[in-house]
Each structure stands twice: as structure tokens, then as C-alpha cells.
């Protein structure tokens, strides 16, 4: 394999998205998105359903390729990075957990086995702690887990790869308030201690307020606004964002 440094400290942003559009057949999902996603920040992506948020996340770890435009990861064109290597660095937690058949342990070890990372029993228990699952879950079969528990296993499974960036697609939408809190504090701690950059798609405005430092607002496949989270909540610079926020508040 080609030796490759994915961490280029000279570049300012972790992702540089340049005029990216994405089409399936004749359906335009994303059009002309240009944005720099800065390092050392938790970035939130919000917007109404069908605005292309999930598609945007999947572009970032190259599960799909842009129809036109380029994406740079640490200053390097992702189209030139071997996809498996790229995806090890950029974990993705999907909206639904999609666990593999078997035990929780087998699921957690899926990534490390590919990459030859050694995991002791203690490391695995530590992973469970991070996602607020009791230790006895390690040997449990995934069949018996609730939706929320499965979602947490899915998050732990991505963490087991020790990624640089974590992409999350509405990770707490099926969780209760307490689990949500634990996951959020885990994400915060991760981003502070291990400097994992988190990009999170969310429906919850409270969550963006609690977690994120930068926000992107997508609508109809277009990037309407990007700003520090605080400004979003104090200034409402755009009519469309204002109406979106209002609707959310009414709910």
C-alpha cells in the first residue's frame, strides 16, 4: 500500500468542499455547494427533510462521488485517496444502525479486524462505557437489542476504528433523553480530548445549541447559510432559516 499522510497540518480546514453537485439520474440532490469545514469543531447540519443532508455526509467519506466538483480532506483530493483508507479515517454512523449478525463484540471488532488493530477485553468495555451501554452487553446477540441500544452499538463500532472524523446522521433520533445526554457528552469529550472532529446531521435545535460550534443550513439541495451556531440563534439572518426555526419551535 502507498504510504500516505492524511493529516496535513498546514491546511486550515478539515474538509474543503468546492462547487459540489450530486445527481441521481435526472434528479438533482445537491447543487453547487462550496464550504470549508474548520478543524477542531463540532459542525452541525440542519435543514428540512429531503434537503440533501444525508447525501452530503455520504459524499464526505466517498460512499458516493460528486457528479461535479471536488472535495478535499486535509488538503488532499478525496478522489485520490484509496477509499478504504479514507473511510477508516472518517467514520460514519448511519441513521439506522445496520448491525451485522452476531454478538455486540463481533460488531465492535469488525473494523479493527480489517485494520489489524489489537483490542483487549478492557478496550471493548471502555468502548461500551463511551456509549453508555452496560458491560454485560458485550456478549449479547444483537437480535435482542432495542433500537436505541443498537444505535449505540453502531456508534461504538465506528469509534473502534479510531477515526479522525466522525460523521453522524441523526444519531440520537431514536434514543431516550438520558441516553441522548450520555452520547452527547461522549461526542463532546471525544472532540476535546482526542480531537476527533464531529459532523452531525440533526433535527433537534436544542442539540445543535448544546453541541455544535458551526452550523450549515441546507434546503432543496442548496447551502443556504453557514455561520457559528451562536449567530444562528441570535441573528436569524435569512428568511428561510427564520421560518424553519419558527416551525420547529411551534412543534
Amino acid at each position: 500500500m502507498v504510504a500516505m499522510t492524511l493529516d496535513n497540518e498546514n491546511s486550515e480546514s478539515i474538509f474543503s468542499v468546492q462547487d459540489v453537485s450530486f445527481k441521481i439520474g435526472s434528479i438533482q440532490i445537491l447543487s453547487h455547494i462550496t464550504i470549508e469545514i474548520n478543524k477542531h469543531k463540532i459542525t452541525g447540519i440542519i435543514g428540512p427533510s429531503g434537503s440533501g443532508k444525508s447525501t452530503f455526509l455520504r459524499l464526505l467519506n466517498n460512499l458516493i462521488s460528486p457528479t461535479t466538483g471536488k472535495i478535499f480532506f486535509n488538503g488532499q483530493d478525496i478522489a485520490e485517496i484509496p477509499p478504504t483508507l479514507l473511510r477508516k479515517q472518517i467514520g460514519l454512523v448511519q441513521q439506522r444502525p445496520y448491525l451485522f449478525e452476531g454478538t455486540v463484540k463481533e460488531n465492535l471488532l469488525y473494523g479493527p479486524k480489517i485494520w489489524g488493530i489489537d483490542y483487549s477485553e478492557d478496550d471493548l468495555l471502555h468502548l461500551l462505557d463511551k456509549v453508555a451501554l452496560p458491560h454485560e452487553f458485550l456478549e449479547r446477540d444483537i437480535e435482542g437489542l432495542s433500537g436505541g441500544e443498537q444505535q449505540r452499538v453502531s456508534l461504538a463500532r465506528s469509534l473502534a476504528n479510531e477515526p479522525q472524523v466522525l460523521l453522524l446522521d441523526e444519531p440520537t433520533s431514536s434514543l431516550d433523553v438520558i441516553s441522548e445526554e450520555i452520547i452527547e457528552s461522549t461526542l463532546k469529550r471525544l472532540s476535546e480530548e482526542r480531537q476527533v472532529k464531529v459532523i452531525i446531521v440533526t433535527h433537534s435545535l436544542e442539540q445543535t445549541e448544546r453541541l455544535t460550534e458551526q452550523l450549515l443550513f441546507l434546503k432543496g439541495g442548496q447551502l443556504v447559510e453557514t455561520a457559528p451556531t451562536e449567530e444562528f440563534f441570535t441573528q436569524y439572518r435569512n428568511d428561510e432559516i427564520r421560518s424553519f426555526f419558527k416551525k420547529k419551535e411551534e412543534n
Binding site: N62, R87, Y98
Partner: protein, 326 residues
């Protein structure tokens, strides 16, 4: 040579004609048609839309077996190995084409051809040449004749090959269908594996584990019940024909091993070649290909609808004319 062949074909056709003049044979055909009618009834009841296919397959199969069955004596007499292989190759191609007619997926003809030919040639080579090798070694401490007597006789190679080919054909078809539906169904899981940095090959392996099980288990179960539930035609025929039961049994077990290996090799080859198309060079799910499959499916559904519509309008017209007559 050519005149001999023409004479032979003429002779066979005359024999067929004479056999068909016997009323006895028509009674038997009529009786077997009862079963076919029952099949059609079941098919109509469950709305499988397989009726025309059933009738067509049986008609075609019947004609083929009548025509070619009479030439079998000629084919069975072939002693040259390369000619035997040529015939097997022709049979494989025909099998691949039949598969292609049922599964109109992209590149299926080529995939089926490769899968069926590769598995058949591989298995038959092992069987023929191991028999040949055993027979060619003089002064073996024990007497062994191999599975096929040496030099290889057409009467052994061709029927064995035909069983291997039809097993490979069936499994290749099942593998295609299962791979398609399993990959579409488990798309999220595959993407989860890809997102962890797994290769498409590996990700698909996790998904297709069950598909192998589903396609091979029926044959494995047949082996497990051999002699109690399943009394294969070949073995029974050999015993009726006077071959000692032990020899017939050994022969049958070997045949099952051949069929299973051919089935497995055909499934693996089919899966490897077919699933490749589901992914892009960048190790992503190939959305263009999925789109193509969906369109194919849609086209099929439309054709089915059209056929039903035609049938309905035919009924309507018939009723109309009946009423008019009244």
C-alpha cells in the same frame, strides 16, 4: 461420412414416426398431461404467472427429448475425449442461454456461460482424468477402475456431464436471484461495512453467507437421506439393470459429490462475477447499476400487466359476442 450421418438421421426419424403411430404412446402422453394440467391449476390459483412458461417448457422439453433421445446412442458411442468435451461445451452454452432467458440482468449470459462451463469442465476433468490415471498405472496393489472406465466412454461421460451441467445451471440461476435480492435488501448493511473501511468483496461475503446455505442445503439434504427417502433414478436404474447394489451406491455417492462441487463452484463464480457490477471503482454501491436493475424490473412488471390486460380484453370481447348472439 456425411451420407452415413444423413442415413442415420433419416433412420431415427423413421423410428420416431413409427413409435408415434402406436396409440399406446399417446395414452401415456395424455395421462402425463393430467399432471401438467394440475400444475397449471396450481399456478393459476397462486397467481404465479408461470402458466405459459410451464406449457412452453414442457412442450419444448418433450420435443427435445424425443428428438435428441434417439440420437443418444450415437453420442454415447463417442470415444474421443475432445469430442466429448465439445458436446459438454455445447450443452453448457445451451444451459447458459436458458438461464439468460429467465434472468435478464446485464451480462448474465456471459456470467452463466463462464460459471457453468468452468464448473463442468473442472469437475469432469477431475473425474475423467483421475479414472484415466488409475487405469493407466500398471500393477496397482489393488484393483481400481476409476469412476469412468478407460478409455472414457461417451455413455458415461455425457450423462454424468449432463447432470453436472444442470446442477450448475440451477445453482447459477439461484445464485443470481439471491445475490440480486440480498444485495438490494442489505444495502444499508453493505454500506455500513464499507463505511468501516471494508472492501466490497468482503462486505458482500458477509451478506451472501446465507445465500450459499439456501442454494446448497436441498442437495445436501438429499445426500443425507440417501437410500431412505431419496432413491435416485440412476442408482435404481443400475440396480434394476443388474449392477451389484454396492457398486451402484458408490457410483451414486460420487455423483452427488460431483453435483455438489459443481453447484458450489458455479455459485461462487456467479456471485464473484455478478456482484462485481454492484460496485464502482471507488468501492461504492453502483447506483447506475441499481437503477438499471430497477428499470428492468419495471419493464417486466409492465409486460406482465400488458399480458393480463390482453387476456382480460379477450374475455370481454368473448362475453360481448356471446351476449350479442343471444
Amino acid at each position: 461420412m456425411a451420407s452415413e450421418l444423413v442415413a442415420m438421421i433419416y433412420q431415427t426419424l423413421v423410428e420416431i414416426w413409427q413409435a408415434l403411430k402406436e396409440p399406446n404412446i399417446w395414452i401415456r402422453i395424455g395421462l402425463s398431461a393430467i399432471l401438467l394440467l394440475m400444475l397449471i391449476g396450481l399456478s393459476l390459483w397462486q397467481r404465479t404467472n408461470l402458466e405459459s412458461k410451464l406449457v412452453w417448457s414442457f412442450l419444448r422439453g418433450f420435443l427435445q427429448v424425443v428428438l435428441f433421445g434417439s440420437f443418444l446412442t450415437v453420442i454415447f458411442g463417442i470415444q474421443k475425449i475432445w469430442m466429448q468435451f465439445l458436446i459438454l461445451l455445447f450443452m453448457s452454452a445451451f444451459a447458459a442461454f436458458t438461464n439468460y432467458q429467465s434472468y435478464h440482468y446485464p451480462k448474465v449470459l456471459l456470467i452463466g456461460l463462464l460459471a457453468i462451463t468452468a464448473s463442468t469442465m473442472f469437475i469432469m476433468s477431475i473425474v475423467i482424468f483421475s479414472g484415466a490415471i488409475f487405469a493407466a498405472i500398471p500393477n496397482l496393489p489393488f484393483k481400481i477402475e476409476g469412476i469412468i472406465p478407460y478409455p472414457p466412454q461417451g455413455e458415461f461421460v455425457i450423462p454424468m456431464g449432463s447432470m453436472v451441467i444442470s446442477s450448475a445451471m440451477r445453482m447459477s440461476g439461484i445464485a443470481l436471484e439471491r445475490a440480486k435480492s440480498d444485495i438490494i435488501k442489505s444495502r444499508g448493511k453493505i454500506e455500513a461495512a464499507l463505511a468501516l473501511g471494508d472492501s466490497p468483496k468482503n462486505a458482500v461475503k458477509t451478506i451472501l453467507k446465507d445465500s450459499y446455505k439456501a442454494s446448497l442445503l436441498p442437495t445436501i439434504n438429499r445426500v443425507a437421506t440417501l437410500g431412505i427417502v431419496s432413491l435416485p433414478g440412476l442408482m435404481s436404474g443400475m440396480i434394476i439393470g443388474g449392477v451389484p447394489p454396492i457398486e451402484a451406491a458408490v457410483y451414486q455417492v460420487v455423483i452427488f459429490l460431483m453435483l455438489l462441487s459443481a453447484a458450489f463452484i458455479a455459485s461462487i463464480t456467479t456471485n464473484m462475477l455478478f456482484t462485481k457490477q454492484f460496485f464502482t471503482k471507488r468501492e461504492q454501491i453502483n447506483l447506475v447499476f441499481l437503477n438499471e436493475l430497477a428499470q428492468l424490473e419495471q419493464k417486466k412488471a409492465e409486460e406482465r400487466k400488458n399480458r393480463q390486460e390482453k387476456r382480460r380484453s379477450w374475455w370481454r370481447r368473448k362475453k360481448q359476442t356471446e351476449e350479442n348472439q343471444k
